[in-house]
Point group: C2
Chain length 223, copies 2
């Protein structure tokens, strides 16, 4: 459920509270020596497929060690089940009516992982798969070390201009489904130009979860 711009004082206080909890999360992750990635995109851009590919051999060999996933979804466990089937430790985080994850939900998720015997300190990576949404999750720091924003070739090259807050917040932009680039008439230089304009701070990597292309480079960027 969303408030509106008329509620800015309320929203501002909520974000300040979230930032405080995110700082606590970040310290906890740092002390455990686990690298935490926040994965954001529109619905259907391929967040789960990318994680499935990371779990699969041979790209798994490129992984720096054990990986667990906190899987944000409004209500279902569909993606968590897909990731478990791929051999990953994956725990669903239900956001309910919220269209984004918050730092408090991540803290509870990490508690739940630890209650199941998954020690943070034993993990190399903890990936947070956010709710599919290019707007609101941008404003919520979760305590991550790296923020990855996915853009699939099927969505159109103009998305960085249309969702600037999200792309401006990215450490890495992952262009996904590049195996479909020709079929959808993806204009690669237009997409790269849009990213250079809106998100010059971000590293850009092009991947295909289907073929595995670019996955090794993505892992290297996130190390």
């Amino acid at each position: 459920m969303c408030g509106t711009t008329r509620q800015l004082p309320v929203a501002h206080r909520l974000l300040e509270h979230n930032d405080t909890l995110a700082a606590t999360n970040r310290e906890r992750f740092h002390n455990a020596g686990v690298r935490v990635l926040n994965l954001l995109s529109s619905p259907g851009s391929g967040k789960t497929a990318l994680l499935e590919r990371l779990a699969a051999a041979p790209p798994q060999s490129a992984l720096p060690g054990r990986m667990a996933v906190l899987v944000g979804d409004l209500a279902t466990n569909l993606d968590a089940r897909r990731l478990q089937a791929a051999g990953l430790v994956a725990l669903p985080l239900h956001s309910g009516q919220a269209c984004h994850l918050e730092a408090s939900m991540v803290a509870r998720g990490v508690d739940a992982l630890e209650a199941e015997g998954v020690a943070l300190a034993d993990l190399a990576w903890l990936v947070i798969e956010n709710v599919g949404n290019l707007v609101c999750p941008a404003a919520y720091d979760l305590g991550e070390e790296l923020r990855l924003v996915l853009l699939s070739v099927t969505e159109g090259e103009d998305k960085p201009f249309k969702y600037p807050a999200m792309f401006r917040s990215a450490d890495v932009v992952v262009i996904t489904k590049i195996d479909l680039a020709a079929a959808v008439g993806f204009d690669r230089s237009a997409a790269l130009a849009a990213l250079a304009r809106v998100a010059p701070q971000a590293a850009v990597v092009e991947v295909s979860a289907r073929s595995g292309e670019g996955i090794g480079r993505l892992v290297d960027l996130c190390r």
Copy 2:
């Protein structure tokens, strides 16, 4: 900007206020004899491309008359410009930090259309292209007569399960980009089964804005 589930009393009051304004919009549209469609989907599902196709010959011949578009976007005029270039009357509605349109924004948009000499009563259809988001816009009635939810074949067949509030609110579900179905391995029966389960109230139509397939049927469904 989004509130959170902790703010439900505030959110509830906001939605009640929105419902009141939506009822006013609906009466205004009814009195003018204009059919109003609310177009919703995730970013990049093809809302604008679908409207471009509706504007183009020959499917335009199927249109019931003059059409105008209110184009929801966070900040840019990119989609409004595309639609103007396609020959449509299109006015941008900037939602700012809000991840959805509200009835008040639509009322102001209609005022602005009329100020530019576009009389509601001269229109056959007024299409509201909502902000690309499968979560929050579901909760905001805009006063529309028909709600169309788009699902592109590239997004995955599980989206109705993952965004149930949105699909449950649809009068028509438009499966888009069906020209890409084979390339992406779209499982048509899985998608239709998911829709039958989550959104049995909705008519379903499969279209390609690229080839024009299904556009005539969509127009018939919306008449």
